[in-house]
Symmetry: C2
Amino acid sequence: MSLRHALLGLLADGPASGYDLLGTFRTSLENVWPATQSQIYTDLTKLDAAGLIRIAAEGPRGRKTYEITDEGRAELRHWLLETAPEGYRRNDILLRVFLLGAVEPEEARGFLRTRAHSATTRLAALRSFDESMDWGGDPLSVYGRLTLEWGKRFMAMQAEWAEWAEKEVAALEATR
Amino acid sequence: MSLRHALLGLLADGPASGYDLLGTFRTSLENVWPATQSQIYTDLTKLDAAGLIRIAAEGPRGRKTYEITDEGRAELRHWLLETAPEGYRRNDILLRVFLLGAVEPEEARGFLRTRAHSATTRLAALRSFDESMDWGGDPLSVYGRLTLEWGKRFMAMQAEWAEWAEKEVAALEATR
DNA sequence: CCCTCCATGTAAGTCGTTACATGATTGT
DNA sequence: ACAATCATGTAACGACTTACATGGAGGG
Protein backbone atom coordinates (compact mmCIF):
# COMPACT_ATOMS: atom_id res chain seq x y z
CA MET A 1 0.00 0.00 0.00
CA SER A 2 2.81 2.40 0.82
CA LEU A 3 4.15 2.90 -2.68
CA ARG A 4 0.83 4.48 -3.61
CA HIS A 5 1.22 6.84 -0.67
CA ALA A 6 4.79 7.64 -1.61
CA LEU A 7 3.60 8.61 -5.09
CA LEU A 8 0.84 10.76 -3.62
CA GLY A 9 3.36 12.43 -1.32
CA LEU A 10 5.73 13.27 -4.15
CA LEU A 11 2.90 14.59 -6.30
CA ALA A 12 1.72 16.73 -3.37
CA ASP A 13 4.94 18.68 -3.95
CA GLY A 14 4.08 19.39 -7.58
CA PRO A 15 2.99 17.68 -10.83
CA ALA A 16 5.30 15.06 -12.34
CA SER A 17 5.36 12.19 -14.82
CA GLY A 18 6.05 8.54 -14.07
CA TYR A 19 9.51 9.04 -15.47
CA ASP A 20 10.18 12.03 -13.20
CA LEU A 21 9.01 10.06 -10.17
CA LEU A 22 11.19 7.13 -11.15
CA GLY A 23 14.16 9.48 -10.98
CA THR A 24 13.22 10.57 -7.46
CA PHE A 25 12.94 6.96 -6.32
CA ARG A 26 16.35 6.16 -7.80
CA THR A 27 18.05 9.01 -6.00
CA SER A 28 16.35 10.28 -2.85
CA LEU A 29 14.21 7.30 -1.96
CA GLU A 30 16.60 4.46 -2.83
CA ASN A 31 17.32 3.70 0.84
CA VAL A 32 13.90 4.47 2.23
CA TRP A 33 11.36 2.94 -0.14
CA PRO A 34 12.80 1.36 -3.30
CA ALA A 35 10.44 1.00 -6.25
CA THR A 36 10.79 -0.35 -9.76
CA GLN A 37 9.72 1.32 -12.99
CA SER A 38 7.10 -1.32 -13.55
CA GLN A 39 5.45 -0.83 -10.20
CA ILE A 40 5.43 2.96 -10.45
CA TYR A 41 3.60 2.97 -13.78
CA THR A 42 1.00 0.41 -12.71
CA ASP A 43 0.30 2.21 -9.44
CA LEU A 44 -0.01 5.58 -11.16
CA THR A 45 -2.69 4.06 -13.38
CA LYS A 46 -4.48 2.71 -10.32
CA LEU A 47 -4.28 6.01 -8.44
CA ASP A 48 -5.70 7.74 -11.49
CA ALA A 49 -8.55 5.22 -11.72
CA ALA A 50 -9.27 5.75 -8.01
CA GLY A 51 -9.44 9.51 -8.52
CA LEU A 52 -6.56 10.30 -6.16
CA ILE A 53 -4.48 11.79 -8.97
CA ARG A 54 -5.34 13.00 -12.48
CA ILE A 55 -3.54 13.63 -15.75
CA ALA A 56 -2.67 17.32 -15.81
CA ALA A 57 -1.03 17.38 -19.23
CA GLU A 58 0.27 15.13 -22.00
CA GLY A 59 3.57 15.84 -23.67
CA PRO A 60 5.85 14.43 -26.36
CA ARG A 61 6.70 10.69 -26.40
CA GLY A 62 3.44 9.86 -24.66
CA ARG A 63 4.53 11.69 -21.53
CA LYS A 64 1.76 12.11 -18.98
CA THR A 65 2.10 14.66 -16.25
CA TYR A 66 0.07 13.76 -13.18
CA GLU A 67 -1.20 16.04 -10.43
CA ILE A 68 -2.74 15.20 -7.06
CA THR A 69 -6.48 15.74 -6.52
CA ASP A 70 -8.21 16.99 -3.36
CA GLU A 71 -9.23 13.41 -2.62
CA GLY A 72 -5.59 12.39 -3.00
CA ARG A 73 -4.46 15.07 -0.57
CA ALA A 74 -7.02 13.91 1.96
CA GLU A 75 -5.86 10.31 1.66
CA LEU A 76 -2.20 11.34 1.96
CA ARG A 77 -2.97 13.34 5.12
CA HIS A 78 -4.87 10.44 6.60
CA TRP A 79 -2.05 8.02 5.93
CA LEU A 80 0.61 10.41 7.22
CA LEU A 81 -1.04 11.37 10.47
CA GLU A 82 -3.68 8.82 11.32
CA THR A 83 -2.29 5.40 10.46
CA ALA A 84 0.22 3.55 12.63
CA PRO A 85 3.60 2.99 10.95
CA GLU A 86 4.98 -0.54 11.09
CA GLY A 87 8.51 0.67 11.70
CA TYR A 88 11.45 -1.76 11.48
CA ARG A 89 9.91 -5.26 10.92
CA ARG A 90 11.90 -7.92 9.06
CA ASN A 91 15.63 -7.62 9.23
CA ASP A 92 17.61 -10.28 7.39
CA ILE A 93 20.83 -9.39 9.22
CA LEU A 94 19.24 -10.05 12.61
CA LEU A 95 17.64 -13.21 11.30
CA ARG A 96 21.07 -14.48 10.34
CA VAL A 97 22.47 -13.47 13.73
CA PHE A 98 19.69 -15.35 15.48
CA LEU A 99 20.58 -18.48 13.52
CA LEU A 100 24.36 -18.12 13.77
CA GLY A 101 24.51 -21.06 16.16
CA ALA A 102 24.47 -23.26 13.07
CA VAL A 103 28.07 -22.33 12.19
CA GLU A 104 31.35 -22.25 14.11
CA PRO A 105 31.89 -19.31 16.53
CA GLU A 106 34.88 -18.20 14.47
CA GLU A 107 32.65 -18.01 11.39
CA ALA A 108 30.00 -16.14 13.35
CA ARG A 109 32.63 -13.61 14.37
CA GLY A 110 33.62 -13.19 10.74
CA PHE A 111 30.02 -12.46 9.87
CA LEU A 112 29.80 -9.78 12.58
CA ARG A 113 33.11 -8.25 11.54
CA THR A 114 31.84 -7.94 7.99
CA ARG A 115 28.69 -6.21 9.29
CA ALA A 116 30.76 -3.73 11.28
CA HIS A 117 32.92 -3.00 8.29
CA SER A 118 30.05 -2.55 5.88
CA ALA A 119 28.18 -0.25 8.28
CA THR A 120 31.30 1.88 8.70
CA THR A 121 31.72 2.14 4.94
CA ARG A 122 28.10 3.13 4.47
CA LEU A 123 28.34 5.69 7.22
CA ALA A 124 31.29 7.31 5.48
CA ALA A 125 29.35 7.42 2.22
CA LEU A 126 26.36 9.06 3.90
CA ARG A 127 28.62 11.59 5.59
CA SER A 128 30.29 12.63 2.37
CA PHE A 129 26.94 12.79 0.60
CA ASP A 130 25.65 15.05 3.38
CA GLU A 131 28.64 17.35 3.06
CA SER A 132 28.39 17.52 -0.74
CA MET A 133 24.73 18.58 -0.62
CA ASP A 134 23.78 22.18 -0.13
CA TRP A 135 20.55 21.79 1.75
CA GLY A 136 17.90 24.37 0.82
CA GLY A 137 14.99 25.47 2.93
CA ASP A 138 12.29 23.76 0.87
CA PRO A 139 10.18 21.07 2.59
CA LEU A 140 11.67 18.10 0.70
CA SER A 141 15.18 19.28 1.61
CA VAL A 142 14.36 19.86 5.25
CA TYR A 143 12.72 16.52 5.81
CA GLY A 144 15.18 14.80 3.49
CA ARG A 145 17.94 15.98 5.82
CA LEU A 146 16.16 14.41 8.78
CA THR A 147 16.01 11.04 7.06
CA LEU A 148 19.68 11.27 6.13
CA GLU A 149 20.56 11.99 9.74
CA TRP A 150 18.58 8.90 10.72
CA GLY A 151 20.65 6.88 8.25
CA LYS A 152 23.89 8.15 9.75
CA ARG A 153 22.80 7.38 13.29
CA PHE A 154 21.57 3.96 12.22
CA MET A 155 24.86 3.04 10.55
CA ALA A 156 26.87 4.29 13.54
CA MET A 157 24.67 2.21 15.86
CA GLN A 158 25.00 -0.86 13.69
CA ALA A 159 28.78 -0.59 13.47
CA GLU A 160 29.16 -0.21 17.26
CA TRP A 161 26.76 -3.03 17.94
CA ALA A 162 28.49 -5.40 15.53
CA GLU A 163 31.86 -4.70 17.15
CA TRP A 164 30.39 -5.28 20.59
CA ALA A 165 28.67 -8.47 19.42
CA GLU A 166 31.87 -9.85 17.95
CA LYS A 167 33.59 -9.40 21.30
CA GLU A 168 30.70 -11.15 23.06
CA VAL A 169 31.11 -14.16 20.80
CA ALA A 170 34.86 -14.10 21.34
CA ALA A 171 34.37 -14.02 25.12
CA LEU A 172 32.01 -16.94 24.91
CA GLU A 173 34.42 -18.88 22.74
CA ALA A 174 37.16 -18.37 25.31
CA THR A 175 35.13 -19.96 28.12
CA ARG A 176 34.77 -23.27 26.33
CA MET B 1 13.25 -16.58 0.12
CA SER B 2 14.30 -15.88 3.69
CA LEU B 3 11.44 -17.60 5.48
CA ARG B 4 12.68 -20.87 4.01
CA HIS B 5 16.10 -20.14 5.43
CA ALA B 6 14.65 -19.21 8.80
CA LEU B 7 12.90 -22.57 8.89
CA LEU B 8 16.10 -24.35 7.93
CA GLY B 9 17.96 -22.46 10.65
CA LEU B 10 15.47 -23.43 13.34
CA LEU B 11 15.46 -27.05 12.23
CA ALA B 12 19.28 -27.05 12.32
CA ASP B 13 18.86 -26.74 16.08
CA GLY B 14 16.72 -29.86 16.28
CA PRO B 15 13.63 -31.55 14.77
CA ALA B 16 10.29 -29.76 15.09
CA SER B 17 6.77 -29.69 13.64
CA GLY B 18 5.13 -26.80 11.82
CA TYR B 19 3.21 -26.06 14.98
CA ASP B 20 6.38 -25.95 17.07
CA LEU B 21 8.01 -23.60 14.59
CA LEU B 22 4.94 -21.38 14.55
CA GLY B 23 5.41 -20.96 18.30
CA THR B 24 9.02 -19.88 17.83
CA PHE B 25 8.02 -17.33 15.22
CA ARG B 26 5.33 -15.93 17.52
CA THR B 27 7.72 -15.46 20.40
CA SER B 28 11.39 -15.13 19.53
CA LEU B 29 11.14 -14.09 15.89
CA GLU B 30 8.15 -11.76 16.06
CA ASN B 31 10.32 -8.65 15.73
CA VAL B 32 12.92 -10.07 13.41
CA TRP B 33 11.10 -12.09 10.78
CA PRO B 34 7.32 -12.40 11.25
CA ALA B 35 5.61 -15.32 9.54
CA THR B 36 2.06 -16.56 9.37
CA GLN B 37 0.84 -20.10 10.01
CA SER B 38 -0.19 -20.42 6.41
CA GLN B 39 3.20 -19.50 5.05
CA ILE B 40 5.08 -21.77 7.43
CA TYR B 41 3.11 -24.85 6.42
CA THR B 42 3.37 -24.18 2.68
CA ASP B 43 7.10 -23.52 2.88
CA LEU B 44 7.72 -26.65 4.94
CA THR B 45 6.03 -28.62 2.17
CA LYS B 46 8.25 -26.93 -0.42
CA LEU B 47 11.43 -27.51 1.59
CA ASP B 48 10.49 -31.16 1.92
CA ALA B 49 9.85 -31.43 -1.83
CA ALA B 50 13.23 -29.81 -2.48
CA GLY B 51 14.96 -32.34 -0.20
CA LEU B 52 16.28 -29.73 2.24
CA ILE B 53 14.25 -31.17 5.11
CA ARG B 54 12.48 -34.49 5.61
CA ILE B 55 9.72 -35.94 7.79
CA ALA B 56 11.41 -37.56 10.77
CA ALA B 57 8.27 -38.82 12.49
CA GLU B 58 4.50 -38.59 12.41
CA GLY B 59 2.50 -38.21 15.61
CA PRO B 60 -1.08 -37.81 16.82
CA ARG B 61 -3.43 -35.30 15.13
CA GLY B 62 -1.49 -35.54 11.89
CA ARG B 63 1.59 -34.04 13.51
CA LYS B 64 4.68 -34.20 11.32
CA THR B 65 8.08 -33.72 12.84
CA TYR B 66 10.61 -32.43 10.34
CA GLU B 67 14.39 -32.67 10.45
CA ILE B 68 17.01 -30.92 8.34
CA THR B 69 18.94 -32.94 5.74
CA ASP B 70 22.62 -32.61 4.80
CA GLU B 71 21.58 -30.71 1.71
CA GLY B 72 19.54 -28.40 3.91
CA ARG B 73 22.52 -27.75 6.18
CA ALA B 74 24.67 -26.93 3.17
CA GLU B 75 22.08 -24.47 1.86
CA LEU B 76 21.73 -22.85 5.29
CA ARG B 77 25.48 -22.42 5.58
CA HIS B 78 25.68 -20.92 2.12
CA TRP B 79 22.90 -18.44 2.87
CA LEU B 80 24.34 -17.51 6.27
CA LEU B 81 27.93 -16.91 5.21
CA GLU B 82 28.04 -16.41 1.46
CA THR B 83 25.05 -14.29 0.51
CA ALA B 84 24.90 -10.54 1.03
CA PRO B 85 22.20 -9.43 3.49
CA GLU B 86 19.94 -6.61 2.34
CA GLY B 87 19.89 -4.97 5.75
CA TYR B 88 17.51 -2.07 6.48
CA ARG B 89 15.64 -1.40 3.20
CA ARG B 90 12.08 -0.01 3.30
CA ASN B 91 11.14 1.99 6.33
CA ASP B 92 7.63 3.39 6.42
CA ILE B 93 8.48 5.80 9.24
CA LEU B 94 11.25 7.42 7.20
CA LEU B 95 9.02 7.48 4.15
CA ARG B 96 6.48 9.47 6.12
CA VAL B 97 9.19 11.80 7.42
CA PHE B 98 10.42 12.40 3.90
CA LEU B 99 6.90 13.42 2.86
CA LEU B 100 6.07 15.43 5.97
CA GLY B 101 6.27 18.66 3.97
CA ALA B 102 2.69 17.93 2.91
CA VAL B 103 1.35 18.82 6.37
CA GLU B 104 1.81 21.78 8.73
CA PRO B 105 5.09 21.95 10.70
CA GLU B 106 3.14 21.67 13.94
CA GLU B 107 1.58 18.42 12.71
CA ALA B 108 4.99 17.16 11.59
CA ARG B 109 6.29 17.83 15.10
CA GLY B 110 3.40 15.87 16.54
CA PHE B 111 4.32 12.93 14.34
CA LEU B 112 7.94 13.03 15.51
CA ARG B 113 6.90 13.34 19.17
CA THR B 114 4.74 10.25 18.79
CA ARG B 115 7.71 8.37 17.28
CA ALA B 116 9.93 9.37 20.20
CA HIS B 117 7.31 8.27 22.67
CA SER B 118 6.65 4.93 21.03
CA ALA B 119 10.36 4.13 20.74
CA THR B 120 10.82 4.93 24.44
CA THR B 121 7.94 2.65 25.36
CA ARG B 122 9.30 -0.16 23.25
CA LEU B 123 12.74 0.28 24.70
CA ALA B 124 11.31 -0.09 28.21
CA ALA B 125 9.49 -3.27 27.16
CA LEU B 126 12.67 -4.77 25.69
CA ARG B 127 14.63 -3.87 28.81
CA SER B 128 12.17 -5.56 31.13
CA PHE B 129 11.99 -8.59 28.86
CA ASP B 130 15.77 -8.80 28.95
CA GLU B 131 15.82 -8.65 32.74
CA SER B 132 13.09 -11.27 33.09
CA MET B 133 14.97 -13.77 30.92
CA ASP B 134 17.63 -15.98 32.37
CA TRP B 135 19.90 -16.38 29.43
CA GLY B 136 21.45 -19.80 29.12
CA GLY B 137 24.63 -20.69 27.31
CA ASP B 138 22.99 -22.53 24.41
CA PRO B 139 23.52 -21.11 20.90
CA LEU B 140 19.95 -19.84 20.40
CA SER B 141 20.14 -18.01 23.74
CA VAL B 142 23.53 -16.49 23.03
CA TYR B 143 22.66 -15.19 19.59
CA GLY B 144 19.14 -14.32 20.69
CA ARG B 145 20.69 -12.02 23.30
CA LEU B 146 22.69 -10.27 20.60
CA THR B 147 19.56 -9.56 18.56
CA LEU B 148 17.77 -8.26 21.66
CA GLU B 149 20.66 -5.92 22.35
CA TRP B 150 20.36 -4.66 18.78
CA GLY B 151 16.69 -3.95 19.40
CA LYS B 152 17.48 -1.95 22.52
CA ARG B 153 20.15 0.10 20.79
CA PHE B 154 17.85 0.65 17.82
CA MET B 155 14.99 1.92 19.97
CA ALA B 156 17.31 4.20 21.95
CA MET B 157 18.70 5.59 18.68
CA GLN B 158 15.24 6.12 17.26
CA ALA B 159 13.97 7.92 20.37
CA GLU B 160 16.98 10.26 20.46
CA TRP B 161 16.75 10.95 16.76
CA ALA B 162 13.02 11.72 16.90
CA GLU B 163 13.56 14.17 19.74
CA TRP B 164 16.38 15.85 17.85
CA ALA B 165 14.29 15.96 14.66
CA GLU B 166 11.35 17.54 16.45
CA LYS B 167 13.62 20.34 17.65
CA GLU B 168 14.97 20.83 14.13
CA VAL B 169 11.44 21.32 12.81
CA ALA B 170 10.68 23.69 15.69
CA ALA B 171 13.80 25.74 14.93
CA LEU B 172 12.82 25.94 11.30
CA GLU B 173 9.30 26.98 12.20
CA ALA B 174 10.67 29.82 14.32
CA THR B 175 12.66 31.35 11.44
CA ARG B 176 9.57 31.89 9.30
C1' DC C 1 22.48 8.27 -39.13
C1' DC C 2 22.95 6.45 -34.76
C1' DC C 3 23.21 6.54 -29.96
C1' DT C 4 21.42 8.03 -25.69
C1' DC C 5 17.89 9.29 -23.05
C1' DC C 6 13.01 9.97 -22.54
C1' DA C 7 8.82 7.52 -21.82
C1' DT C 8 5.37 3.99 -21.14
C1' DG C 9 3.30 -0.46 -20.79
C1' DT C 10 2.41 -5.73 -19.89
C1' DA C 11 3.25 -10.66 -18.40
C1' DA C 12 4.92 -14.15 -15.42
C1' DG C 13 6.29 -15.41 -11.16
C1' DT C 14 7.50 -15.08 -5.99
C1' DC C 15 6.49 -13.75 -1.40
C1' DG C 16 3.37 -12.61 1.99
C1' DT C 17 -1.40 -11.76 4.22
C1' DT C 18 -6.21 -12.77 5.36
C1' DA C 19 -9.65 -15.79 5.54
C1' DC C 20 -11.73 -20.14 5.23
C1' DA C 21 -11.98 -25.01 6.54
C1' DT C 22 -11.34 -29.14 9.25
C1' DG C 23 -10.50 -32.21 12.82
C1' DA C 24 -8.05 -34.73 16.99
C1' DT C 25 -6.59 -34.67 21.92
C1' DT C 26 -6.37 -33.31 26.64
C1' DG C 27 -7.67 -31.38 30.94
C1' DT C 28 -11.46 -29.87 33.87
C1' DA D 1 -19.54 -32.36 27.89
C1' DC D 2 -17.03 -28.69 26.46
C1' DA D 3 -13.33 -25.57 26.05
C1' DA D 4 -8.69 -24.86 25.00
C1' DT D 5 -5.04 -26.20 22.54
C1' DC D 6 -2.79 -29.00 19.12
C1' DA D 7 -2.34 -29.58 14.28
C1' DT D 8 -2.61 -29.05 9.26
C1' DG D 9 -4.10 -27.46 4.85
C1' DT D 10 -5.99 -24.39 0.78
C1' DA D 11 -7.86 -20.32 -1.82
C1' DA D 12 -7.87 -15.59 -3.01
C1' DC D 13 -5.70 -11.53 -3.16
C1' DG D 14 -2.15 -7.79 -2.79
C1' DA D 15 2.73 -6.18 -3.18
C1' DC D 16 6.90 -6.50 -5.43
C1' DT D 17 10.54 -8.22 -8.92
C1' DT D 18 12.35 -9.53 -13.32
C1' DA D 19 11.97 -9.62 -17.91
C1' DC D 20 10.06 -8.47 -22.17
C1' DA D 21 8.45 -5.08 -25.54
C1' DT D 22 7.99 -0.76 -27.93
C1' DG D 23 8.79 3.64 -29.71
C1' DG D 24 9.70 8.97 -29.97
C1' DA D 25 12.99 12.96 -29.58
C1' DG D 26 17.31 15.27 -29.53
C1' DG D 27 22.30 15.82 -30.03
C1' DG D 28 26.58 14.99 -32.30
